[in-house]
Amino acid sequence: MSKSVTFKLDGKSISFQPGDTVMDAALRAGEYIPHLCHNPEFKPHGSCRVCIVALNGRHLSACTLPAAEDMDIDNSSDAIVEQRRKLLQMLFVEGNHICPACEKSGACQLQAVAYYTRMLSPHFTHFFPRRAIDASHPDIIFYFNRCILCGLCERASREVDGKDVFSISGRGINSRIVFNSATGKLGDSQLAITDKAVSVCPVGAILHKHQGYDKPIGERLYDTRPISVVGDVAANLATGQPHKSDERNE
């Protein structure tokens, strides 16, 4: 029988299996590392950097960091939380994330992670970019204002739906989602409302049309319990079951 291999996460021993990332092992052990672009169903992306942790003084993304024996990882020091907060603040000012008017409010992973890291204000100057809405699809609406370029729709459309509807185009601050259709409009793509790519969005960028705010305040995903307990938006849609309880954040 092989010996269990472990690493330390905030001083706790976490068992892992060969090929695990720090994120894989931590999530399996019920330890929450904040993240946005990561979804265990897909290959790690490492783009949002919200899952940043410290190892031997280096800051690395937990979703792409292979687990190794005897690593001593800092997931919740003030310095790490502060860095995550700064990343989230930059995400908030780069787009137009107007929670009071957004129908995803209360069930949005970006908002929930921001609450979890105790982000109290956007801090940085808002870019207020002018971005359109694509409502050309009969059942689905795409809000460019709220897209955080996590790439989950792109991965889901390609790997699960086999359609390749979404792609990230441009570089740096000019990066944006584009749709694979002759006109560039979502309505002319092959996207269907039952596609994985539609349900995998962690924020309010891809939504069903004609139905907003139908969940009362108080009954939304993150209204009463934090994301560390409830888990990701996509995971809840898939299972309907919340994540393992985390007493520290109850």
């Binding site: 009071p100 008017a101 129908e103 809405i133 049309k209 139905q211 009362p216």
Partner: protein, 496 residues
Amino acid sequence: MPPPLEAADNPEQLERIVIEPLTRVEGHGKVTLLQDENLNIKQARLHIAEFRGFEKFIQGRPYWELPVLVQRLCGICPVSHHLAAAKATDMIVGATELTTTAEKIRRLMHYGQTLQSHALHFFHLCSPDLLFGFDDEVRHRNIVGVIEDSPEIAKQGVMLRKYGQEIIRITSGKRIHGTGAIPGGINKSLSRDEISYLKTDSDQVIDWAQQAVSLVKRIFFEHYDYHMAFASIDSSMMSMVGKDGAFEIYHGGLRANDKQGENIFDHVNYRDYGDYIKEGVKNWSYMKFPFISSIGQADGWYRVGPLARVNNCDFFTTALAEEQRQEFIRNGDGRPVQSTLAYHWARLIELLHCAEAIGELLNDGDLCGNDLLNRGTLQSSGTGVIEAPRGTLFHHYEINDDGLVEKASLIVSTTNNNQAMNESIRKVAGQYLDGNRLTEALLNQVEVAIRAYDPCLSCATHAMGKMPLQINLVNANNELQDRLEKRISGEIRRTL
């Protein structure tokens, strides 16, 4: 010809007195007065000093966001915009009727908000003027003064408002800017526990509401002739009424009566409001001037809000409010009561009605129903009209094939009262200010007249790119050198 005191002949040669900011009203506004060397008032105007732009920036947004988005116009009575937009989007989703539960929950929400808004206005904003006198010392003439001198009255005001806010929280999820009403219905009904919680205080609230009506009557009758005459103007009045002529604030037809009480139109389907109401503009104001189109802009202006509603309706459906209405109406001697300060009296009769209606609804099992939504075939436009605490509120939206808003038009309660408020301050200026060296106490009388209407100035200015402007260039001797005018069409012309 503009009305007297709207435009002075030689404004450059007159002393300009500005009341800015107007205090104890919602939003930001100012009054300008022009006085000649003999201290005669030559011009009096109410201006709105802020700009909102909702009609413009909701263009391109999905229609199902409207009830939540547009309510952000206001923090005092957002439920009015929430429900007016919800009614418009009901039409858009083809819900010709709401389920019984949905309509009753929306009514409960609306009674709760009218209760809290009226309590806020009377106790927090206006009771200092009415209890202490218009010329009371400024430091004392405020809600803190009321708390110090009459703690029981202040407490009742706070508790009445709290109760209304609790009803809003339970029906919409939040005390301010909730999400209860959605296109075609509501997103939650009430649980038995929530009803029991609200019932705990409902009798007490009715009792406080009765005391509030007694208080305003006592104040009114102490100086009856003065209160009847102060800022009093003869006007037409417009409001919503039920099919049977009953007082109605959620859903009904439009009724307008002239200053004698003679009917101008009745039971008008509010979707056709554009056939009956038009909006005029003046080159000195960002706020539009609505008027009854069959009468014309000069004389077709009207009043809305509690005074209009209590004068116009045939009866209240609740006993205590109806008893008070009958006493109120007797003061008109066969005509509508035209006293501007009677707005306060009518407002508190409405507050009593809301308290009674809430008590009745809380005994209605439909509040716990599960049938919350109706939907039909998607339509390209929708109109929602509601009686907001401050008066009749119109929302109209048109959407494109993708479900995005292409056009929005809002006529807000306060805008309906624009001409009336201006007429009232001119009446006060002529009655009490003319010939006097102006003091704070005298200027407060202008504010008292405006406050009676409970204007929400932040809601009332949202037109964009339509404001006519005039810029005058004068030299050091106040001689006009040049004049530029921007017309409604956007055309700019030199007119000197």
